[in-house]
C-alpha cells in the first residue's frame, strides 16, 4: 500500500514513501524528525499535534498523509528557532507562558493561524481560537497574554 506522497514541510518539498493512511503526525515525528508536534490523544481532541496546513490549524494526529498531498505544512519548528524565534515564540518566552511545555507547540500553531486571519484580536477572540487546545498545567492566562503581546509587536509600525 506504500506510495509516494509529495508535500511541502516548513518550506521544503518532501517526498514521503509511506502508506497514505499514515497519520501526518507520525510522518512528521518519525520520518522527518520534526518532534515539535506532539501526540496527546489521537482523536483531534487536545490540539497538541496542531500544524498549519495551507494556513489552517489542523490536528495532524487524525490527518492522513494523503490529505496533505500537495499542501504547505508548517510545524512549530517552521515558525522559528531558539536563536531566531517567531514573534509569538518570543512573546511566549517573555511571558513565561508555559509550565511543562508539551502543549505549547500546538497552541503556537493555533495562535499563528489566528493572527494570520485576525492580526489584532481581542482577548475573547484569542481564548475562542485556542479552545481546541488543552493545557493541563494551567498556563492559560500567560498564554493568552503572550498571544496578545505578539499581536501587538507584529503590528506594522
Amino acid at each position: 500500500m506504500t506510495t509516494t506522497v509529495t508535500l511541502r514541510v516548513n518550506g521544503s518539498e518532501r517526498h514521503i514513501e509511506a502508506d497514505p493512511a499514515t497519520p501526518l503526525l507520525d510522518v512528521l515525528r518519525t520520518r522527518l524528525g520534526l518532534v515539535g508536534a506532539r501526540f496527546g490523544c489521537g482523536r483531534n481532541q487536545c490540539g497538541a499535534c496542531h500544524v498549519l496546513v495551507d494556513g489552517y490549524a489542523v490536528a495532524s494526529c487524525d490527518t492522513p498523509l494523503w490529505a496533505a498531498e500537495g499542501k504547505e505544512v508548517v510545524t512549530v519548528e517552521g515558525l522559528g528557532t531558539p536563536e531566531k524565534p517567531h514573534p509569538l515564540q518570543a512573546a511566549f518566552i517573555a511571558e513565561q507562558a508555559l509550565q511543562c511545555g508539551y502543549c505549547i507547540p500546538g497552541i503556537l500553531i493555533s495562535a499563528a493561524a489566528l493572527l494570520k486571519r485576525q492580526p489584532n484580536p481581542q482577548e475573547t477572540e484569542v481564548r475562542a481560537a485556542l479552545d481546541r487546545n488543552l493545557c493541563r498545567c494551567g498556563a492559560h492566562n500567560r498564554i493568552v497574554r503572550a498571544v496578545l503581546r505578539a499581536a501587538k509587536e507584529m503590528q506594522p509600525a
Binding site: 518519525t30 490523544c41 528557532t81 511543562c100 498556563a139 492566562n141
Partner: protein
C-alpha cells in the same frame, strides 16, 4: 588540605535537606575544567520549573553566572537517591541540600585557592567562578577542578549566604528550558529516537483484574512490520518496526483476545454510599480535648464527596526499554528513578544494580500517572526485541483507563455548637482508598502489569503515607482553627476496584473543600462574615496575613451583591505545615457556573523564583477549577468509560478565570513548596461562592448543573 573525609567522621547533627541521606558532595556538584559546574539533583523536572530553581540556588551560592551551571538529568548510575519528586518538597529537600553543598564546595575551593596562592581565605573573592585576591593573585574553580576536592562528605557547617546577600535566589529568573520547549525542540521522553528503536503496544484488560484466557498470536504476528508478539499470563503486546505497524498488530491482537472475570466496579451514582460500606482499616488521625462534654445546643452534620479524578496529563505515558548483555536500561518520566528500579528488580528477579534507569521529561505531571506502569510494560516487551530498544507510548485510552487515578472520597463532618453557634466539638471522618501505590516502597511491586503475569504478584492495595509526612486520605483533615475539641478519623478501603495512587494534594483537596465549606456554613449560621469568622479562629499570624491579603486584593469587604453573582473565600495551610494559601473566588451563573476571577495570596516562605511560584499557584488554581466544576472519572459496572477528552472534559481557555496571585515576601523563612498549596482553597472558595450566588450548597463534587439542581431539591 586533607583528602576525602572518612566514613567514620559522620556529622553530628542532621544535614540540611537530602544531604542527610546523600552526604557526598561530589554526588551533587562537580566543577569542570572547561568552565562549567555540573549539578546532579535526584529530583526531576515535571513541568514545575525545578531545574531552573536549583540552577539559581547553585549559581548564587557558588558566585557563578547561571549559564555556567549545567544540570544533569537524573540517572541511577550517578544521581543522589532523593526518592520521589512529589509532595511539594523539591525546594526543601533538594534545593536546601544543594544550597548547603554549594556553600561548602565554595569554602573548600577557597581554602584550596588560598593554599595555592599563599593568601588568607579572608582576602579572596569569587566572581563568576574566578577566585581573586590582592595584587594579581587569581585562580578559579575550573583550574582547581581536577583536584577532586569534593570527594568527601558534607559537614553542613558552612552557612549559606544570608538572604540579603543573595543575588539570584529570590529573583524571577526565566525558565532555562523555555526557549527549546517553545520552539518545539526535542525535550521529552516521547521525542527520544534511539538507534534501531522498535515500537510497542500493549493489550489492556477490558476491566480491572480480568484474565486473558485465549489469544490468537498468529494473526498479529502475520501483520506487516510486527517483529514479536509478547505474552506473559494476562500481559500481552506487540513489538513492531513502526508506530503504525504496532497499532495494526495490536488491533489484530485485540480481536483475537478472550478475557474472563474481573472485579465489578461500584455504582457510579452511589459512590459516596459505596465508599462508606466497604471493608476498611480505621485510624485515629488526631484527637483533642473532650468531645463528650454536654452543653451542645445543637449538632450540625454534613456529608461531602469527591469522585475519582484523572491526571489527564497532556501526554500519555511513555518509556523506552532495552535489554543488553549486562542488564537492562530504561528511559522514563517516572518521578522516582530509584523507586521504579527497585520494583523492576523485584518483578524481574534481578539485582537492581543491573538496571539503569534514566529520567527524561514527560508532559506535566501531577502525581503518579502511568509513568511507572508503562516502564514495566516496555521492559516486558523489550524482552522479545533481541536487544533492540523498544519505545512504548500508551494510547490516551490506556492512560485514562489503566493508569492510576486520584481516589474518590467521602467525608462527614459534624460540629457541636453552643447556644451562640460557636464550635465546642468537631468530628471529621474520611472514607477513601489509599492515596499511594508508588513503587519501591513495599515488599511487593505496585506496577500494573506485575499482577497480570503468568506468575503474578499480589495486586497492591493503595495505602496512606504517615501523617508526619502529610498523610494520604487524611491530608489536611485536621482543621487549622482553634476549636476546643475534635476527633479526626480516617477509614482506608481494603478493596480497590479502581486503581488509585497519588494525585496532586492527595486527600488535601477534598478535606479542605469539606472543612472550608463547612466553616462557611457555620459562619453563615451565626450571621457572621466568613472572613471575620476565620480570622477569629486562626491563631497563626501568617495564616491571617494571607487571608487578609487575598481579601484586600479582591475587595472582599466592598463586594456589591448582585443577582447571579457570588463570591467566596477559603484558606488552608498545605499538609498543616506547608505553604499558606487563601483564595477569593468570584462566580457567575444560575445552573452553569462560570468562575470569573480567583484572587490568591500565598506564603511559601522563601520564594527562590517568585514568578515560578506564581506560575505554580495559577496552574494549581486553574486545575482545581477544572476538578471542581467538571471532572469525574466515569464508569459503568464493568469498566471505566472516560476514555478520551470528550468523555473526560477538562477546563478550556474560554472557561478559565483570571487569576491574580500575591506571593508574600518571606525571604527569611524556610521555603515550603508551592506546587499543591492552591488546589484545596480554590475548590472550597468556588463552592462558597456558588452558595453566595445561589443560596444552595453543593457538597458532592463536581459542581455541575445536575448537582446544583439536585441540591436545590
Amino acid at each position: 588540605m586533607s583528602g576525602s573525609t572518612s566514613a567514620t567522621a559522620a556529622p553530628e547533627r542532621r544535614l540540611p535537606g537530602n544531604l542527610q541521606t546523600n552526604p557526598r558532595l561530589s554526588k551533587w556538584l562537580r566543577f569542570r575544567p572547561d568552565g562549567f559546574v555540573e549539578i546532579s539533583p535526584g529530583k526531576v523536572e515535571i513541568g514545575q520549573g525545578i531545574l531552573t530553581t536549583l540552577t539559581q540556588i547553585a549559581a548564587d551560592e557558588l558566585d557563578v553566572g547561571l549559564e555556567r551551571v549545567r544540570v544533569l538529568t537524573a540517572k541511577t548510575t550517578y544521581s543522589p537517591n532523593e526518592g520521589v519528586t512529589s509532595g511539594s518538597l523539591s525546594v526543601q529537600d533538594s534545593g536546601m541540600a544543594l544550597r548547603y553543598a554549594c556553600a561548602e564546595a565554595r569554602a573548600i575551593f577557597l581554602a584550596a585557592a588560598a593554599e595555592r596562592l599563599g593568601i588568607g581565605v579572608g582576602a579572596l573573592e569569587v566572581a563568576d567562578g574566578t577566585i581573586e585576591g590582592p595584587g594579581n593573585a587569581r585562580t578559579s574553580y575550573w583550574e582547581l577542578a581536577e583536584e577532586e576536592l569534593l570527594d568527601r562528605d558534607a559537614t553542613g557547617t558552612v552557612p549559606p549566604k544570608a538572604p540579603a546577600r543573595r543575588k539570584l535566589a529570590g529573583r524571577s529568573i526565566a525558565r532555562i528550558d523555555a526557549p527549546a520547549k517553545i520552539c518545539g525542540m526535542p525535550a521529552f521522553v516521547q521525542d527520544l529516537a534511539l538507534p534501531d528503536m522498535l515500537h510497542g503496544r500493549v493489550l489492556k484488560p477490558p476491566r480491572p483484574e480480568a484474565r486473558l484466557t485465549a489469544l490468537d498470536e498468529a494473526a498479529a504476528r502475520a501483520c506487516p512490520g510486527v517483529v514479536a508478539v509478547v505474552r506473559d499470563g494476562s500481559f500481552a503486546g506487540v513489538v513492531a518496526q513502526t508506530l503504525e505497524s504496532a497499532r495494526a498488530g495490536l488491533e489484530q491482537l485485540r480481536r483475537g483476545a478472550t478475557w474472563d472475570g474481573g472485579a465489578p466496579l461500584p455504582d457510579e451514582a452511589n459512590l459516596r454510599s459505596w465508599l462508606k460500606v466497604q471493608p476498611v482499616e480505621t485510624t485515629e488521625v488526631s484527637a483533642k480535648g473532650d468531645l463528650a462534654s454536654g452543653g451542645a445546643a445543637r449538632t450540625v452534620r454534613r456529608e461531602y464527596s469527591r469522585p475519582f479524578l484523572s491526571h489527564a496529563s497532556m501526554a500519555p505515558s511513555c518509556a523506552i526499554a532495552q535489554w543488553t548483555d549486562g542488564g537492562l536500561r530504561v528511559w522514563t518520566h517516572t518521578q522516582g528513578i530509584f523507586n521504579l528500579r527497585a520494583d523492576l528488580a523485584i518483578v524481574l528477579s534481578m539485582p537492581a544494580e543491573k538496571i539503569i534507569v534514566e529520567h527524561h521529561e514527560g508532559a506535566g505531571c501531577y502525581g503518579q500517572n502511568g509513568a511507572d506502569d508503562v516502564a514495566l510494560d516496555a521492559v516486558l516487551l523489550a524482552k522479545s526485541a533481541g536487544g533492540r530498544p523498544v519505545r512504548l507510548e500508551w494510547s490516551r485510552e490506556d492512560e485514562l483507563c489503566t493508569g492510576p487515578v486520584g481516589a474518590a472520597m467521602a467525608i462527614d463532618i459534624s460540629a457541636d455548637l453552643d447556644a451562640g453557634g460557636e464550635v465546642i466539638g468537631w468530628r471529621h471522618d474520611v472514607w477513601s482508598n489509599g492515596h499511594v501505590s508508588r513503587p519501591g516502597r513495599a515488599k511487593i511491586p505496585t506496577l500494573a502489569a506485575a499482577s497480570q503475569l503468568a506468575r503474578p504478584f499480589e495486586r497492591f492495595i493503595s495505602v496512606n503515607p504517615p501523617l508526619a509526612g502529610g498523610g494520604g486520605a487524611e491530608r489536611n483533615s485536621v482543621p487549622g482553627y482553634n476549636f476546643p475539641a475534635w476527633r479526626i478519623t480516617s477509614h482506608r478501603l481494603l478493596t480497590m476496584p479502581i486503581r488509585t495512587s497519588s494525585l496532586r494534594t492527595l486527600g488535601g483537596f477534598a478535606n479542605v473543600f469539606a472543612i472550608e465549606s463547612f466553616v462557611d456554613e457555620l459562619a453563615s449560621l451565626r450571621g457572621e462574615d466568613p472572613l471575620d469568622y476565620r480570622l477569629r479562629h486562626l491563631p497563626d499570624k501568617r495564616a491571617r496575613a494571607v487571608l487578609e491579603t487575598a481579601a484586600d486584593c479582591a475587595g472582599w469587604r466592598s463586594w456589591q451583591k448582585r443577582e447571579g453573582f457570588g463570591h467566596g473565600l477559603a484558606f488552608a495551610r498545605y499538609k498543616g505545615f506547608g505553604a499558606y494559601c487563601a483564595v477569593v473566588s468570584e462566580v457567575e451563573g444560575e445552573a452553569d457556573i462560570r468562575v470569573r476571577r480567583l484572587v490568591i495570596a500565598v506564603d511559601v516562605g522563601e520564594a527562590i523564583n517568585p514568578d515560578g511560584v506564581a506560575n505554580q499557584i495559577e496552574g494549581g488554581a486553574i486545575q482545581a477549577t477544572s476538578w471542581t466544576l467538571k471532572e469525574a472519572v466515569r464508569f459503568d459496572r464493568s469498566s471505566i468509560t472516560s476514555i478520551d477528552f470528550a468523555s473526560y472534559p477538562i477546563l478550556r481557555f474560554s472557561e478559565v478565570p483570571t487569576v491574580e496571585v500575591t506571593v508574600m515576601p518571606r525571604a527569611d523563612e524556610p521555603p515550603l513548596g508551592a506546587g499543591e498549596a492552591a488546589l484545596g482553597p480554590t475548590g472550597a472558595a468556588i463552592a462558597n461562592a456558588v452558595f453566595d450566588a445561589l443560596g444552595t450548597r453543593v457538597r458532592d463534587l463536581p459542581i455541575t448543573r445536575e448537582r446544583i439542581i439536585g441540591s436545590m431539591a
